[in-house]
Point group: C2
Chain length 414, copies 2
């Protein structure tokens, strides 16, 4: 596969800085992937960590997702094991038994309490997860190489069709204590061959109250991962988990303080959002066959949900995506997408910009197609739409659609 310029952008983090106090990580090959690549990852906290999670809204949920949704209720977790190459989805009771077996083998090996391990899987649907000859043999090796510097190995082991591992880190101070938030993710673009499965695992040494952590995670995911999966191709396995072990010794972050949103909470939310946004952008840049990175801003909407619907409808339009690939500033396709977004619009109030070039004003073309054609030749393009109806806005990110994408997806599995 030819890697495009857009896709080859790597994580900009130095490996030596990838470290969160009180956490270890690892990634190895256990034989699930036929080509011998890394396919088993582990994240481990020295002490049970406060945990929050978000899971796929697909009605068909993989066994590990069902297991984690049960376990997250406790709000505590000490180890997360993730395999790639097999989704453990549509595998019935045997699949659930395999997920439970994976968790219990891990719990015994690292010596943590029953119920404190979570499990995640990504890969092909409908095949049984190999326990005896795969994960069972892998776990001792995996635990053996656990290290404070194991994050990049873990990021590599959760990849499926990803062109590069995805890691992001933020450091900051909360209540005078140094806080680190580190995340790893997998997923390739708007829709990856393996069903757009998006996984992210985040570790922090902050002390934070459980419901506050869940609320911060939801805010961050809504502003990042939920602004990129562009065509609703929600997978059976999508999962985001965050573990907070409190090693920083800060006063526990709570969302409210004397009835108002606390400063610590705001700081934590901002840091977490930046980590999620960096990972989300890496996923878009890693889109199959992507040649362009598109930022789509919708402004002047009545409600934020309207702005998001319009932005997502544009981002999901095959006609818009192929026009960007063909470097054609075809605004007719954009305005038609807005019109069918299911929101209230007034044609004669709509304006559209390619970067700072206005192509439509008050619903009518400005004739500046030549200038727009220059913008559309760039690798990074910002499309701004003004609806002229209110003050709400939303931004989403996507890529163009190339025939490389179709080729890659048609060839997968065969």
């Amino acid at each position: 596969m030819k890697k495009s310029e857009v896709r080859s952008q790597k994580s900009e983090v130095k490996l030596s800085n990838l470290f969160v106090p009180g956490f270890k990580a690892a990634g190895i090959a256990c034989g699930i992937k036929k080509n011998g690549s890394k396919d088993l990852a582990l994240i481990y906290s020295e002490t049970p960590a406060v945990t929050a999670g978000m899971f796929t809204k697909n009605k068909i949920k993989a066994a590990p997702v069902l297991l984690d949704m049960q376990r997250i209720k406790k709000g505590l977790c000490q180890a997360v094991i993730i395999n790639s190459g097999n989704a453990n989805a549509c595998t019935g009771k045997k699949g659930m038994a395999a997920a439970l077996k994976t968790a219990s083998l891990l719990e015994k090996k690292v010596g943590i309490e029953n119920g404190l391990a979570m499990v995640s899987s990504t890969g092909v649907i409908g095949e049984l997860l190999p326990i005896m000859n795969g994960i069972g043999k892998g776990i001792p090796k995996l635990v053996n190489v656990l290290s404070v510097n194991g994050w990049s190995d873990a990021a590599e082991a959760i990849m499926t069709t990803d062109a590069f591992p995805k890691v992001a880190i933020e450091k900051g101070k909360i209540g005078g204590k140094e806080i680190t938030i580190l995340g790893i993710a997998k997923g390739a673009g708007m829709i990856c061959p393996n069903m757009a499965t998006m996984l992210a695992f985040i570790a922090t040494n902050a002390a934070i109250e459980r419901r506050t952590l869940q609320s911060a995670l939801k805010r961050a995911v809504d502003k990042s991962f939920n602004c990129i999966t562009v065509d609703g191709d929600t997978s059976t396995n999508d999962t985001v988990l965050i573990l907070a072990n409190g090693k920083a010794g800060n006063r526990e972050v709570r969302s409210q303080e004397s009835g108002v949103r606390s400063k610590d909470y705001k700081t934590f939310c901002n840091m977490l959002e930046r980590v999620c946004l960096k990972l989300a952008h890496m996923i878009v840049r890693d889109g199959e066959g992507a040649t362009k990175f598109l930022e789509i801003k919708v402004k002047g909407a009545r409600k934020q949900i309207d702005a998001k619907k319009a932005a997502m409808t544009i981002a999901n339009s095959l006609l818009v995506k192929t026009a960007f690939f063909g470097e054609d500033a075809n605004w007719g396709r954009i305005i038609a997408a807005i019109g069918r977004a299911g929101i209230d619009v007034r044609e004669n109030r709509i304006s559209i910009y390619f970067d700072n070039v206005p192509v439509v004003r008050n619903g009518i073309g400005t004739g500046k197609d030549k200038d727009a054609m220059q913008v559309i030749k760039k690798k990074n393009i910002c499309l701004t739409i003004y609806l002229g109806l209110g003050k709400a806005e939303e931004t989403v990110w996507t890529t163009d659609l190339s025939y490389e994408y179709v080729k890659v997806n048609a060839a997968y599995r065969t």
Copy 2:
């Protein structure tokens, strides 16, 4: 553009049979299309005809759509003029003036009452419709060649990226009188480069009450054209019009008779549905770059709307489409699409068939992937999904997604 086997399938109607008593049609080139192809069509009824219509649900509507939506209220029409090559959309007041001018020039030339002409356009968005040097000069020529045998010229003149003209005809008896229903359509596949614009114009010599005609048209469109536009890429110009001039002299068809649905109405509905279905299937077969014609049946749903949602979500999934193009019987992508269709499903009740090969039973793979791989090599494939929850069902039609599609769409306009 290489035309695939699926796409090259022509209308099977003999030209000499294309005739509806009391109607004339014509198609000519008036200079809107730069390559000199036919771009102006006319359908004319000797007497004012009872008329019904359905229009795009896109909030951004082209000027001719807005004009027709006004005029349809009267329920009578005597002539429809259609141009291709220019959508007359996003053209503001000038666009509406151009649509009105087109109608009034036509009304004068054919000598019909003001308000009895309808107008339709398809093509590029955002450019002004040429009246003086295009349509204005074309109308006299067009009226001059009006003929009872002009239907195939008209069908050709409404094409944009279509590979072949689309005509369908049905004959039958209602109340002892011979009834003809003839339709022409344009549109190329699930999403054509020119924004999926789908136009259909239907003429019949049946005598039918106006509201009955509207209700029959809605039923037929819901079962045909609304079961193919597969990704919601509703255009600014979509239009279906039917004109019934009553020349057959049958007793006027009414939907109810002594409080029950009348036999005449059922006969008329069946004939009209067959015409619409033939045209709709031709549109799918004409899909850009299509190599396969897919019939997707969802059975055992609680409600019909659920069956349609599931079928449409599968039909719209890029992952499903590219898998069919790649001839990979990847049922994981199908079950994942069902799970995110926004309907209630039970994983362990789902069964999936490729033609008559079961690939999933009760949510679990049957292992018959080899047999399924044989089916998927065919040009015409029927995918059947059993939800196991009720008795409702729905069928939709679509094509695969090839890189030819992306190429064609990326290259359009430039």
